[in-house]
């Protein structure tokens, strides 16, 4: 399959040290993720939720030739997908917000957590978070990568460590700092 070949080749490139491959992969993964999210959206049963991790997962199955990649490539894929997932969610949140103001049809919402506020609140929160991450990007880009992996793609500490080629201890420390900083910044 053509798409699979491309993604697999780009992952190999990434592994070989060609960093631009990351940015070439991003649109591929983003496109697929958005397609899946939309598909779910249009027809899914009310009340059913999809963890973003499920979407990333499905995209992985679609985009990668499993026979031809190993765990390092897989980890890299998830690093890319975490970034893509952030973009998908933020872009859907923007459209959601636009729809409320009379724009196009709403497409995706962030779920309410059990016992939490209504989901409109989360759209606002998500957009605010995206803005905060922009700020954090300037202060420490690695922290942002960790947040993308942990928050947007739901990766575990170990998976995040593998995806970003850093140690699990670093992931834990970065996540704790970033989380505290973001909460403080967002006044949560």
């Amino acid at each position: 399959m053509r798409e699979q070949e491309t993604v697999t080749r780009l992952l190999h490139d990434l592994r070989g040290g060609r960093r631009e491959a990351f940015h070439e992969l991003l649109p591929q993964v983003y496109g697929e993720l958005r397609r899946i999210a939309r598909g779910y959206l249009r027809h899914e049963r009310a009340g059913h939720t999809f963890h973003t991790t499920d979407l990333v997962h499905e995209a992985f199955l679609k985009l990668v030739d499993l026979n031809r990649i190993d765990w390092v490539d897989r980890a890299h894929f998830f690093a890319v997908a975490s970034r893509a997932m952030r973009q998908v969610l933020v872009s859907h949140a923007r459209r959601q917000q636009a729809a409320k103001r009379g724009g196009g049809a709403p497409v995706v919402t962030l779920t309410e957590v059990p016992g939490g506020e209504p989901f409109e609140q989360h759209v606002e929160d998500l957009l605010a978070l995206d803005g905060a991450l922009e700020q954090l990007q300037a202060l420490n880009p690695r922290h942002v990568r960790v947040v993308e992996c942990r928050f947007f793609a739901g990766l575990t500490v170990e998976e995040t460590a593998a995806a970003l080629d850093i140690s699990p201890v670093t992931v834990t420390r970065d996540w704790r700092m970033a989380r505290a900083w973001l909460k403080d910044y967002l006044g949560r």
Binding site: E44, R45, H51, V113
Partner: protein
């Protein structure tokens, strides 16, 4: 803020976290001196860190908009007019639609846009014909399939107004059986489709709808058959092809490993998905609970947990079990065994290790529901026997013993079979045939094979024996002898010594004719026969048989052989039972040393040697040494077989008995209660060992004077034993004997009489008229009759007791002395003091030779002789006898003991006869009136 300041902030944040909360202020005072902003920033971070934030800590979920279905409602797709949205699934939305021209109401499925792959239109039309041929009461019909004007593929299906399978089951709180019955229906539908070369590929509860039928019974329908295949991107050619590659329409939670890997999809893929559905139905959980990217590798590599193990862990165990009308523990027991194995077989990672078809899967569910052995399990004899017993729970008279015994015997043969695989092929074949024969007895007992539930274990065995007698295996005497040996062993453990003996003798004769004297099988038969004789109390015969078995084993296999150890252990036990303690100890020590060399420490035979040695030392009164040997046996068994193994219970029981003998009745009670708990946990409530434990506890209670409690426990024990044993049984006799004694001790002699009569009847039936136990039973019965004042009835019974005991025991045996003394007492009470004097003098003389001078039992007899002599007027001799007897008894049993008080009464009578009123009054007071 810049990157440098962020780094500083970060460093302080982590450092502060390493300090305990109360020390952080001091730390920050020092670290941020002169920079209050920095300090405030760190403090805010710490506060933010400490506050929980569910939104932030959980990955966001994507939810669809609330469905209004408005986009399609009212529109027409093909010939169908869409009326309302029914629901939505992974592949698309389903609407209720009506075909106006024929008035047909359908469920119309519109497929997700991104799933509508190029070329689907052609494939759709091709597949439609195949799918439309699928007629099955549990498969929703596909009426039509096509493509809407905008290119959206649609399917028109039979409309089913139902709930999905799991919701249906949970809402109605269906039991495991009811769930299995529904699942079976689903499986049969899948099987039907497979027979038409159609694989579902996307089986999950939401594709299995259940509605209440007109008769109130559930009606189940499978949806979406073949649709995933229609949508598959790389379709193999031809509708008959069962496999296809590249299809990525899947629901991750139900997808089989090969689907995730993108490998071939076959009928086995549906089997896997059915396995997930079953797992969920039974446990409320999914076999793979890992979510996120890690699920990928988990589905591929991580074996699912047994269903029975997940229903008692986690936070939802109680509601999950309640939805199945059970407690978590009961649900766990219900799932353990067959259902565990069935689920895991369906969920095997490799398609070829799963059930070969949905049919095989469903068949196993059916067999499980019918109580038949399931195919997923290795066909061990033990398993087959267990199934048999479960099936005949109400009908089998001897269920529990039978289960234990047969499992043990058959397991033995199975183990031997494994060992002999490496020996000669012929020996192995023989063991296999023995096992097969035994298993076959149970296959015949399947309810489906016309025998029904009334068949009980004895009948099954009897049929086996009949088959042998009728000439089965006549052309293969070696195998025939092995079967006879095995069946003999079963009868032996069931307590049917007569049949066991006949079979063992036959096996021995056959083997001797085949092999001559020097052959291991001949030794085995000798040892088996010895065991039977041992149980029939023919101890000298048992001993000589065992000596021969040991000699043959030494000559053929050498001393360092498991057989030698086993026979030596039995011989040690036989010697102990004969009271030949020195020889017993020597044999057992050798068995122990050899056992340690042959097996190492952790072996049952070694534990047996230790415990048997402990019993020998117990007989010698060396309780401390006995306790430590018994502790060794316990340690071996609990380390080797686990803390709840019934074998440990045996040794706990023995430990209790040791304490019992040491007079530490409360410790005895403790260990017997532990043994009871171990037996119950492993063997269930109705096992004879449980009854034995009750008896032992009762005996310890009895010694503590808690007689009423003891009587109740004896009755518990008997209730179990009567369920378990039909006809006469030694254990029943001994429990009855103890019960009778307890009743007698509380003065309920009228109740005790029938109990002892039953004991007598059992012993007569099992042991024969002339057995020493029959003599003892008669002796006790006579005593009970005397205590009721029925001397006329008691006297002939005494004479019978004496006759039996004098014939069965060596001259001068203490039991003969007791029997004669008892006879004398009754004669005295009946008014024949002259005859009484004669008997009591002989009795006391025998007891004087048998007991040490101060023994209370002797003292009691002397007391009676003294009482007799008082009546006869030999007052000086009477006084001498009675005063020493009183002192001995008071010393041994205390002043309040009933025997002590009895002698006090006899002394009072003496002094009254002498006219010494004050002394008489003193003793009358000591006698308690």
């Amino acid at each position: 803020m810049d990157a440098n300041r962020f780094d500083r902030l970060q460093a302080l944040f982590h450092e502060a976290l390493e300090h305990p909360p109360e020390a952080r202020a001091a730390f920050l005072d020092a670290a941020c001196a002169g920079d209050p902003d920095l300090r405030a920033a760190v403090e805010r971070l710490l506060a933010a860190d400490a506050a929980p934030d569910p939104w932030f800590d959980a990955p966001p979920d994507v939810v669809p908009d609330p469905p209004d279905g408005s986009a399609w409602v009212g529109r027409t797709v093909g010939p169908y007019r869409i009326e309302r949205l029914l629901g939505q699934g992974g592949m698309g939305a389903v609407y209720l639609a009506r075909r106006e021209d024929v008035g047909l109401v359908v469920a119309l499925k519109l497929v997700r846009g991104d799933l509508a792959a190029p070329g689907h239109r052609e494939r759709l039309l091709r597949e439609r014909r195949v799918l439309a041929r699928l007629h099955h009461p549990h498969i929703a019909r596909l009426y039509d399939a096509g493509v809407a004007d905008d290119g959206t593929p649609y399917f028109a299906m039979e409309y089913v107004d139902g709930e999905d399978l799991t919701t249906y089951c949970d809402r109605r709180r269906l039991s495991v059986e009811e769930r299995l019955a529904l699942f079976e229906a689903a499986g049969r539908a899948v099987q039907h489709a497979h027979a038409h070369f159609i694989v579902h590929r996307d089986l999950k509860p939401s594709n299995i709808l259940v509605a209440d039928g007109p008769d109130g019974r559930p009606v189940l329908k499978l949806l979406d058959f073949g649709i995933a295949r229609v949508l598959a991107e790389d379709e193999a050619d031809g509708p008959a092809a069962l496999t296809a590659t590249g299809a990525r329409v899947l629901t991750p939670a139900y997808a089989a490993p090969e689907q995730i890997e993108g490998a071939g999809v076959t009928a086995a893929t549906d089997v896997y998905a059915l396995g997930v559905v079953l797992y969920e139905l039974l446990t409320g959980r999914r076999p793979c609970e890992v979510s996120g990217p890690a699920r990928l590798s988990a589905v591929l590599t991580q074996p699912p947990k047994k269903p029975s193990t997940v229903v008692t862990t986690g936070t939802t165990t109680v509601p999950v079990a309640a939805a199945r009308r059970a407690t978590p523990e009961r649900l766990q027991r219900r799932l353990a065994g067959d259902l565990d194995v069935i689920c895991l077989k369906a969920l095997a990672k490799e398609p070829e290790r799963r059930y070969a078809s949905a049919e095989a899967f469903v068949e196993d569910i059916r067999r499980h529901l019918a109580g038949l052995p399931v195919q997923a399990r290795p066909d061990t004899a033990a398993y087959r026997v267990r199934k048999f017993v479960q099936r005949h729970r109400l009908g089998v008279g001897v269920t529990a013993v039978f289960l234990a015994v047969l499992t043990a015997v058959v397991t033995l043969y199975t183990l031997r079979l494994q060992a002999e695989r490496e020996a000669t092929a012929r020996e192995a074949a023989r063991s296999a045939q023995v096992t097969a024969f035994l298993i076959d007895l149970f296959r015949e007992a399947d309810p489906n094979q016309a025998l029904g539930d009334t068949l009980d274990a004895y009948e099954i065995l009897a049929r086996g024996v009949e088959r042998l007698r009728a000439g089965e295996m006549a052309d293969d005497p070696a195998t025939r002898a092995s079967i006879e040996d095995a069946v003999s062993q079963i009868y032996l453990r069931l307590g049917r010594f007569d049949v066991a003996e006949t079979l063992a003798e036959e096996a021995l004769r056959t083997r001797q004719a085949l092999y001559g004297r020097l052959h291991p099988d001949v030794a085995a038969s000798l040892a088996r026969l010895a065991e039977v004789r041992q149980r029939r109390a023919a101890l000298p015969e048992a001993d000589s048989l065992l000596r021969e078995a040991l000699a043959i084993t030494e000559a053929t296999r050498g001393k360092r052989h498991p057989d030698w150890v086993a026979y030596a252990n039995t011989r040690g036990q036989v010697l102990r039972e004969q009271g030949r303690y020195d020889e017993a100890e020597a044999v057992l020590r050798e068995a122990l040393a050899t056992g340690l060399a042959v097996h190492g420490r952790f072996h049952e035979a070694v534990a047996f040697s230790y415990d048997e040695l402990a019993r020998v030392l117990k007989e010698r009164g060396d309780y401390e040494a006995a306790l430590s040997l018994n502790a060794e046996a316990l340690a071996i068994v609990s380390e080797h077989f686990g803390p709840h193994d019934p074998r440990q219970a045996v040794y706990l029981d023995n430990r209790g008995s040791l304490y019992f003998n040491m007079g530490q009745d409360s410790l005895a009670e403790v260990f017997h209660r532990q043994a009871l708990a171990a037996y119950r946990a492993t063997l269930g409530e109705d096992h004879p060992n449980v009854a034995v434990s009750y008896t032992n506890i009762a005996a310890a209670l009895q010694n503590q004077g808690r007689l009423e409690e003891a009587i109740e426990l004896y009755r518990n024990a008997l209730a179990i034993l009567h369920k378990v044993h039909r006809g006469p049984h030694t254990t029943v006799a001994s429990v009855l004997y103890n019960l009778g004694n307890a009743l007698r001790a509380v003065g309920r002699t009228a109740e005790a009489e029938p109990v002892f009569r039953e004991v007598l009847a059992i012993d007569r039936a099992l042991l024969g008229e002339q057995h020493v136990n029959v003599g003892l039973d008669l002796h006790v019965l006579a005593g009970v009759l005397r205590e009721q004042g029925d001397y006329a009835a008691a006297l002939p019974v005494h004479r019978q007791a004496l006759a039996v005991l004098e014939a069965a025991l060596p001259a001068g045996h203490r039991q003969v002395g007791h029997a004669r003394t008892g006879y004398g007492i009754t004669l005295l009470l009946s008014g024949d003091a002259a005859a009484a004097e004669r008997e009591l003098r002989r009795g006391v003389a025998t007891l004087e030779a048998a007991y040490e001078a101060g023994h209370w039992s002797l003292a009691e007899a002397r007391g009676w002789l003294g009482a007799c002599l008082t009546q006869r007027g030999a007052l000086d001799e009477a006084e001498a006898l009675l005063t020493t007897a009183y002192e001995h008894l008071r010393e041994a049993r205390g002043a309040d003991d009933r025997y002590t008080r009895q002698v006090a009464g006899q002394l009072a009578a003496l002094y009254e006869a002498r006219g010494q009123a004050r002394r008489a009054a003193t003793y009358r007071a000591a006698a308690g009136g």
